[in-house]
Amino acid sequence: MTISRLLLGAATLAVTAGAAMAETSDKRIALSNNYAGNSWRQAMLQTFEEVGGQAVSDGVVAAADAYTTSENQATEQAAQIQNMILQGYDAIILNAASPTALNGAVEEACNAGVTVVSFDGIVTAPCAWRIAVDFKAMGREQVDYLADRLPEGGNLLEIRGLAGVFVDDEIHAGIEDGVAAHDKFTIAGSVNGDWAQEVAQKAVAGILPSLPEIVGVVTQGGDGYGAAEAFKAAGRDMPLIVLGNRQDEMAWWAEQRDANGYETMSLSIAPGVASLAFWVAQQILDGQEVPKDLVVPFLKVTQDTLDEALESTPEGSVANTVYTLDDAKAVIAEAK
């Protein structure tokens, strides 16, 4: 059984990737994840399980295990990383609770010879790799899109994420840049939606009565549908809401498009970025030279790709891309 699987694995390897990959067949990779309590993280874990499981059965790596902390605390995750060092993992891919608080544990891992690749929630420790999203560009692009679609300009409503989190500050800075560049827009109101539909719905419903006419809503993902519900409940004209790739948002968008030709766009970071981190870690273990800072493109859904995206997204989940080894190589080559 084992031998036949090995043979099968070797055969698959020979077909798919060529010679370089055999180097990592005895390496073990762990995923350290700080939070599992939303659909994005669930999709991320699922993608990692699929890609990691496939890689293990193909013999590319010896193990790809996922661990999630229960309380989303940096101290808890630091202890988890220390456990992974003791368990002898060769690489840790890390979605971190804090960009700085885990640096001590990450340094320990590096000193023990463990490769650390952080993604989405990155760490600043110099010895770790970072796969980051250009969140600032994500904010900027929303305003650019609105400027394109709404030549008259007008009032915007900004829905921000969780206060005090780095991602929220970055996207917000991008949006401010965008508004500074397109002075026909003013931000008439700003609320914190905490990246959750319910919270966004509540916050928008509360601020709407005091707002003038709103032509566009800029968001951070996970909050667009809640904003739409609040506008609908208040009996207001539906503004142009930039969405964040959630299936319920896209289903609503398709519904509006069929009913009245509603047109918008949707962008977010794909949860499959975990698979990209996995392949990057594999490449590093393989001895490839990989720059420390990599940038992952965000996943954009437009009017033309909406139906396609809806079809491939499970009901209630998030639009996703599974990254392959070749994608990882392309991202690495681009950063060099």
């Binding site: 599992a36 309590g37 939303n38 659909s39 993280r41 669930q42 999709a43 699922q46 229960s70 921000r160 206060a163 005090g164 109101g189 700003s190 609320v191 914190n192 905490d194 959750a196 539909q197 319910e198 919270v199 719905q201 509540k202 916050a203 419903a205 509360g206 601020i207 709407l208 009565p209 005091s210 707002l211 549908y225 809640g226 519900e229 409940a233 208040a234 959630r246 299936q247 319920d248 499970p314 009901e315 209630g316 989940s317």
Partner: protein
């Protein structure tokens, strides 16, 4: 001035002030819109707050921290069972209430049989409930049946249906507390557990009923919230952990137990929504908003408790 001595007064004064300040900004327009929104969203906080109020009334150390997880689990399982099929709204409600009874029973078992402090027992149990919610549906948002969604977001004579459900539950709780033997038992247990036991009150039965009531209320709130916002999400209950305790305390219920206050919970729930709306409308950033909210809450609690002390 008997009115000034009512501990619930201050939460209502604060809510009215926040409302007036917001409406002033818009020059009077949007007042009914804001009142409608405050009632709809305040209702969720009020429903979980009523449950938490009963538990806190039981006396020092009694609190239920499993409210967010129970809301999430009830919402998730109810919507999964209904699967967006029309005519399943009552089935979904039944599932939600069963979840509430189940988590309440589990909480009380931990507290009674294992003698765990309620804070530890409910917090630990909530991790299990949250995990079951994750495991059962992996965070996928299933839409509520259309009829139920229309009900949850709809209104009746200009008042949102959710608020009407919340008001009906409040009246039931108020009558139970003020006019029933069970209410007297609850208050007596909260004032002095030992004296209550010696007086022949079945204090453990009272505690059990209370810990079941709080999770059933949380489950109903979770079911309504999931129907209201187009599906259950794994993080839908998060903000109701502190919210449920805040509305009880701001509403003038004694944190030391033994005294409940139903109208105060409503005043505080409306206030918690309106103060955020007010600060958002005035363009306060997140930092300023949190500082001001905290300061105002401290002010109200002080006002309410000094009035009680001089009674």
């Amino acid at each position: 001035m008997k009115l000034l001595h009512k501990p619930w007064l201050w939460s209502w004064v604060a809510a009215a002030a926040a409302f007036a300040l917001t409406v002033t900004l818009t020059g009077g327009s949007g007042a009914s819109e804001l009142a409608y929104a405050a009632l709809s969203f305040g209702a969720f906080a009020a429903i979980v707050g009523l449950g938490q109020m009963l538990v806190i009334t039981l006396g020092p150390g009694n609190v239920d921290l499993s409210i967010p997880a129970t809301m999430t689990l009830a919402g998730t399982l109810a919507l999964k069972t209904m699967g967006s099929d029309p005519g399943t709204a009552w089935l979904g409600l039944g599932v939600a209430i069963l979840v509430g009874l189940g988590t309440g029973l589990a909480n009380f078992t931990l507290i009674y049989l294992l003698r765990l402090p309620p804070i530890i027992a409910t917090l630990a149990a909530s991790l299990v409930y949250q995990s079951i919610a994750i495991w059962s549906n992996r965070g996928l948002r299933i839409k509520p049946p259309e009829g139920l969604a229309d009900f949850a977001t709809g209104r009746f004579f200009g008042i949102s249906n959710v608020a009407l459900v919340g008001l009906a539950l409040s009246v039931v709780i108020w009558v139970l507390l003020e006019r029933s033997v069970w209410g007297r038992w609850l208050l007596a247990s909260g004032q002095n557990l030992r004296a209550a036991r010696l007086a022949g009150i079945p204090v453990e039965a009272v505690r059990a009923a209370t810990y079941l009531a709080v999770t059933v209320f949380a489950a109903i709130a979770g079911y309504l919230l999931a129907s209201f916002s187009g599906g259950a999400a794994l993080n839908m209950g998060t903000e109701y952990l502190l919210m449920s305790i805040a509305v009880v305390v701001i509403g003038g219920t004694s944190i030391a137990g033994g005294s409940s206050n139903v109208p105060g919970v409503w005043g505080a729930s409306l206030f918690m929504f309106l103060v955020v709306s007010m600060l958002n409308s005035y363009g306060a950033g997140a930092g300023v908003r949190l500082i001001l909210t905290g300061t105002i809450i401290i002010g109200i609690v002080i006002a309410a408790s000094t009035r009680r002390a001089t009674r």
